[in-house]
Amino acid sequence: MSIITPKIAAQLANVAYSVRAPTSRGEYRLFGKEANDLSQHFDFNLSQGPIKGVSGGLLSHLFNKTTGFALIGEGKGLYKNDYVVAVRGTASLQDGLTDAHFGLTGSETGSIVHAGFNKTFNTMKPALKEYFANRLAKSSGGTIHCVGHSLGGALAGLTADWLKNSYSLPVNLYTFGAPRVGLKGFSSKTTARVDNIFRCTHGADPVPKVPLWPFTHAPYNGMEYRLNSGQGFSPSSHKMGANGNPGYINSANSQDWQALQKKSNSFLNNSVRLKYEARHQASYSGYWADKISAALVTLLKDAGYYSAIMAQASIGTALTFYDLVARTLVNVVQASTKFAEQTAGLLGHMLVFAGQGAVKLAELNYEFIKWVFDKTLGVLYRSVKTAINGAL
């Protein structure tokens, strides 16, 4: 099995954005330095245009507004017999990231994933199927490399999962600044299914932090390639291209994955129990967003409500997911003094995270717990939204 270098992966993710329909004079070639560099390793035949997809809301689906989404290349030289599928992001998918009333749906491979991402993937799938059905039957054991930046990374994740499930050949996934795609079931299954996952992030990129738990990243062990050490949240750190700061195309400019910094936030697999007295250690950061999620999961597991909550999340309820969590925590508090203290520890850290450190814990009833959740989710979603909509 072959693996493409970080540099090639980043170039592919970036070039996917310059794929368009042929000009009115019939020109369909890709131009520029990256396209030229990549042409040494892959052939892209765009005479028929790129793989199309439909993204966006009801209106785009009604009018079937298709745009170029994916670029498929055939490997040569070092990558002979390989294929690359480079998917690009689209601004119209952004709404799904910060929507508290997130929609869930069953994926192609039977796991629970983000409804918006899956809907867009389904519009690309027929074209992908048509392309690969003939070629992979006679394939002599190459690898398919799925690549994408931002929401394109989410679509590349669904593509890799579906390809590996449909065809028995090695599939690798490479993402840059991609959001979470599905719940734990999808994350663990796709981690086992897809051969290698290279998930690249920047420290201050807000997009990999959403949607919030119960959405879970793949690989399931929380491993990521942290390409810089930014703090806080900054919109320019999400950018792929040279106009970003630092821009994934620059931070991933390496010939070797070993040379890049690996980081593992293994919170979600370890138990995290927080003490109320220690709440001031929390701060508004990606690190604490992950740790608070892990503390919530631990509390629900300790109190025996985890499975029930996850089952509810999968079915989808009229209430928002976190409303359900708040209602459940009321029961957790009443179960024992120990659980009440653990809940207080969690809520205390959440308040400090949300900049509400001065608020004293009141009676742990539904109204108060719901308020703490609203504040915490509000502050995180707000900064992602500001980053999304804000100027550079």
């Binding site: 000009t23 009115s24 804000g390």
Partner: protein, 194 residues
């Protein structure tokens, strides 16, 4: 500050509507429509102002292409009356296709092209600009310039190269890399020579 007391304003509206109500049904309807239109406009204007404040509707100047000047020759002889095409595509926007004709000395010219766009304001925007300049001569297609630019501001290197886009149709199409003072490397496919 000049303002009308809300209660006073209500009275005016009621008086005004009563006045109209005493007239025909059509008048009553038109008053209601006017009222709703005014309300809707006020609402839209205030939200527009709020949106402007957050930069959602802010438009950015996008420089698609600098001025182009050049001369077309074939084996050293100037070619007159040949159509030259410039195709510019920004992100998913519609392609902008223009054409010009070489003069008796083979010279041609395109103006600088700029547009306004909201796209650069979005964190998710990765739009780039496709620049293609080509011509057809004796049933053959010749590519004078094929480039992809990520910057939305004028780039001095590109401006310089496009100000002298001279070519001889007998030259082979080649890939060129130009670097400016910054770190950006511009890759272009062309039959021109500089």
């Amino acid at each position: 500050m000049l303002y009308i007391k809300p209660s006073l304003m209500d009275n005016y509206i009621i008086q005004w509507m009563n006045m109209n109500l005493s007239q025909s049904y059509i008048n009553k309807r038109s008053v209601l429509i006017t009222f709703f239109v005014i309300t809707a406009c006020t609402f839209l204007l205030t939200t527009k102002a709020a949106a402007d404040m957050f930069g959602i509707f802010k438009k950015y100047e996008v420089h698609l292409c600098p001025e182009i000047k050049g001369q077309i020759k074939s084996k050293g002889i100037a070619i007159k009356n040949v159509k030259v095409f410039r195709s510019l595509t920004y992100g998913d926007d519609k392609e902008i296709l223009e054409e010009t004709v070489t003069n008796s000395d083979g010279y041609y010219h395109f103006n600088e092209k700029n547009i306004k766009s909201k796209k650069p304001g979005s964190m998710f925007d990765e739009s780039s600009i496709r620049q293609i300049i080509d011509l057809d001569y004796q049933d053959k297609r010749y590519l004078l310039w094929g480039g992809e630019v990520k910057e939305i501001k004028p780039n001095p290197t590109i401006t310089l190269k496009l100000s002298k886009l001279d070519c001889d149709l007998s030259s082979e199409e080649k890939y060129f890399e130009f670097s400016d003072e910054g770190s950006t490397i511009i890759g272009v496919q062309s039959i021109c020579r500089w």
